[in-house]
């Protein structure tokens, strides 16, 4: 029997080099910890394993930057790339579709930019992890951080539902495990268990929704789903019970991952219980990856179901997302007001930020700017992620010196570490959204996208949503300012206050501050970059019949039968 498998292009593995490097480096870290570092004393062992992990992150970052360089060169100056890499590689890298592995993964500029972002954040999180002792299983802990990042990078790159789900599970299972790593504290185990139980139920529901989508459209590719649904015509989702169920189930899955109300219950307990660097990675990396893939699924695949009847409460997901966004930002901010615990406060604040970002998701689907409107969401995500990594480094500081995480533990910090206190002020102001820091421009861009639409039924409602968002920003000032009050207006305790921060704590705080300040004073480069990558990210076209014959004439000439899911299904409806 002839094997009519499709020929695989092995060069595709080069384009996922950062992910491959990180996966392998996880094993290196585990092995090196077992073989070499285990006999050292705790302090030097932690530093050694952390440094080894940072080397791996650096290698992956270098490969991601190299890929970024190649991809941007392929777009701007193809002949030069020809001379650098030779013709075969150059033509491979300048292929127009930007998809690899038979269209299951995206590659190209959007993926490269996101990979650089993930790896930079991961570097900061790993560095923070060396600040204090919270686990004895260091090799395993750092390996899980690396592997979670592999999941995030592939999740943000996925263009197909099966790949999406496995990447999502890789990311979250590593994070479930890492949250339970502080074995000396029962609440860490509680955090891991809670995260695991809520997470597996939401994953099951999410998978159920994905299977409905596959059943309805006959394909798992985002682009093909979008085209099949687009043929549905004006009424779209009306009367489609299965489609509605699929949408709601997928919203449950994404809502859990990004901690949107009413699927947020896990967030405060997990952020509080997990070790501070793990909380940082849950709050930033996993949220960024989930939002990116949510944008892809909802704008690219399910875009035709956004708001087909042009009324907010008509059939479509826009109304649901608007309600979720309003509930999430209001609840998150009001609940954060009551918190005395620094990590719980950050958890509720991250719920509130998920609400603002959901406004951006809703806005991007109706904005007149098209897919580029999603650039505002990406900008916000970058700024939010850096500010939170810095804020959680403060939590690691509290855990190291005070073995606690109350806001009151920060008392009098302005007198003992004035420079870092100023940095924390900047981070908090950016999280509130005060100009000239980047958080302000993130909110501004999202709210502007919400207002930038043609005459349509949703316009008034989104304007109200923007008003609610502004009101919420004011509310959020109260609890962020509480941190500033503790640092500046209270006296430091005479004994057992915060010691001097070492580089493991100071560097993430300073880097985050520099990023939010620089992106705030000069917002346009990052904003332009994000807008530029939003369009290819949300319009990556699946290799269907025409694209295949165009891109690889050799494969088209042999006329191999292609698997069903690869072509746009032509089944009778």
């Amino acid at each position: 029997m002839p094997v009519n498998a499709l020929p695989m292009d092995l060069r595709d593995f080069l384009r996922v080099a950062p992910a491959v490097l990180l996966s392998a480096w996880g094993l290196v870290v585990v092995a090196a910890d077992l073989a070499r570092y285990r006999r050292r004393d705790a302090e030097s062992r932690r530093l050694a394993v952390g440094r080894l992990t940072l080397i791996g992150v650096g290698l992956a970052l270098a490969s991601a930057v190299a890929l970024f360089g190649i991809d941007s060169l392929a777009q701007s100056d193809a002949p030069r790339l020809d001379r650098l890499l030779g013709e075969s590689f150059a033509s491979y890298f300048s292929r127009p579709d930007g998809l690899i592995f038979f269209g299951t993964l995206a590659s190209g500029l959007p993926t490269d930019v996101l990979n650089v972002l993930f790896l930079t954040l991961l570097g900061l999180v790993v560095w923070t992890s060396t600040a204090y002792a919270f686990t004895d299983d260091l090799g395993e802990y750092f390996a899980l951080l690396l592997w979670a990042t592999v999941g995030m990078m592939l999740l943000a790159a996925s263009e197909e539902l099966a790949t999406l789900f496995i990447a999502l599970e890789t990311m979250t299972i590593c994070l479930y495990l890492a949250s339970a790593f502080e074995k000396s504290k029962p609440r860490s185990a509680e955090a891991g268990l809670k995260y695991f139980i809520y997470g597996s139920v939401s994953s099951a529901l999410f998978l159920y929704g994905l299977s409905f989508v596959y059943g309805l459209t006959g394909t798992t590719y985002f682009d093909a789903i979008g085209r099949v649904l687009g043929r549905g015509g004006h009424e779209g989702l009306a009367g489609n019970l299965v489609g509605g169920a699929a949408l709601l189930l997928m919203l449950v899955g994404f809502g859990f991952k990004v901690a949107a109300v009413p699927f947020h219950m896990w967030a405060p307990d997990v952020y509080e219980g997990a070790p501070a660097p793990v909380s940082a990675w849950i709050a930033t990396g996993s949220k960024v990856a989930s939002f990116v893939v949510m944008l892809k699924v909802f704008l690219h695949a399910l875009g035709p179901w956004s708001n087909p009847s042009n009324e907010l409460m008509g059939p479509g997901w826009l109304g649901v997302v608007v309600v979720l966004a309003a509930a999430t930002m209001t609840y998150g901010n009001l609940a954060a007001l009551a918190q005395r615990n620094y990590k719980r406060m950050l958890a509720y604040s991250s719920i509130a930020h998920a609400g603002y970002i959901l406004v951006g998701v809703a806005a991007a689907s109706v904005s007149t700017a098209g897919p580029e409107a999603a650039g505002a969401v990406l900008y916000y995500l970058v700024v939010y992620a850096f500010a939170n990594v810095g804020a959680f480094a403060v939590a690691a500081w509290l855990a190291r010196d005070r073995d606690g995480d109350a806001i009151a533990d920060l008392d009098g910090l302005a007198r003992t570490s004035p420079a870092l206190a100023v940095c924390i002020v900047v981070l908090m102001l950016s999280l509130i959204g005060v100009p000239p820091f980047a958080g302000f421009f993130g909110k501004l861009a999202i709210f502007m996208e919400a207002l930038r639409q043609g005459p349509s039924g949703t316009r008034i409602v989104l304007a109200w949503l923007v008003a609610l968002g502004l009101f919420n920003s004011v509310v959020s000032a109260f609890y962020y300012v509480r941190v500033l009050k503790a640092m500046y207006l209270r006296e430091a305790p005479s004994v057992g206050g915060l010691q001097r921060a070492k580089s493991a704590i100071a560097v993430p705080i300073v880097v985050a501050t520099v990023v939010v300040t620089a992106c705030g004073i000069v917002p346009s480069p990052l904003m332009d970059l994000m807008r530029a990558i939003a369009r290819p990210m949300l319009t990556a076209t699946t290799l269907d019949a025409t694209a295949v014959t165009d891109a690889t004439p050799a494969a088209g000439a042999t006329a191999r039968p292609r698997p069903v899911a690869w072509t746009t299904p032509s089944r009778p409806e």
């Binding site: 695989m8 996880g26 039968p561 698997p563």
Partner: protein
């Protein structure tokens, strides 16, 4: 019609065996026996897949559910040395009646739902045979029909090809996922030597002959 009768008798026999095995799983007090009954139930499901001409699914059912899941379950029971189950997890006393009512309600809902799906008007009988759609190649059939025919006829090969070409990355990622889960689980379950010394001697620390041999306890 002889083969139809044979098929019907076979189905009834397999279904009855499956029901018995399922009852045994729920009712037996010894966890090892319950797990063995579960293996029997999985096997009956695999037989039903064969009768539906889904041979590949049947093979996967045997390999994964019997070969991996059930064996993992047995290892779990043996490693925790808890063959008798936990009395706290089985319903007793005042909770028995509500549990029974809930179970019957679920049964009623399933009967109603399946009956409605099979014969909405109640007119057609419950038992019936349907042949699989013809797999003969026809002139001018669309591409998806040829593709589906190939997938049905030769499912193992098609699945294998997909795993190694289109889903190669997802397949590799699944491997990474399992590695990560294993590494993390070992790290979490691992007890520090210092902590172990402080704890009172557990079952593992006792001499081997004083521990109850697993699986020999009468239920």
């Amino acid at each position: 019609m002889g083969e139809v009768v044979v098929a019907r008798i076979l189905f009834l026999a397999i279904a009855a065996l499956g029901l018995l095995a399922a009852l045994g799983t729920v009712l037996s007090r010894n966890l090892v026996h319950a797990a063995l009954h579960l293996v029997g139930f999985f096997f009956c499901v695999a037989c039903l897949f064969v009768m539906l001409e889904a041979e590949f699914l049947a093979a996967v059912q045997v390999l994964i559910y019997i070969g991996a899941v059930a064996i993992l379950l047995m290892f779990g029971i043996m490693l925790t040395r808890n063959t008798r189950g936990d009395d706290a997890t089985s319903l007793s006393g005042p909770w028995r009646l509500p549990g029974l009512v809930a179970g019957l309600c679920l049964f009623g809902a399933l009967v109603f739902g399946i009956n409605n799906a099979v014969s909405p008007s109640g007119a057609s009988p419950w038992a019936g045979e349907a042949a699989r759609p013809s797999l003969v190649e026809r002139e001018g059939e669309p591409a998806w029909a040829a593709e589906r025919r190939r997938a049905v006829e030769d499912m193992g090969r098609v699945v294998g090809e997909e795993f190694l070409t289109r889903y190669a990355m997802a397949f590799e990622l699944a491997g990474l996922l399992l590695t990560a889960a294993l590494v993390g689980a070992v790290a979490l379950a691992h007890r520090d030597e210092v902590g172990a010394a402080e704890l009172p001697p557990t079952v593992e620390a006792l001499p081997a002959d004083s521990a109850e041999p697993v699986g020999t306890a009468a239920s």
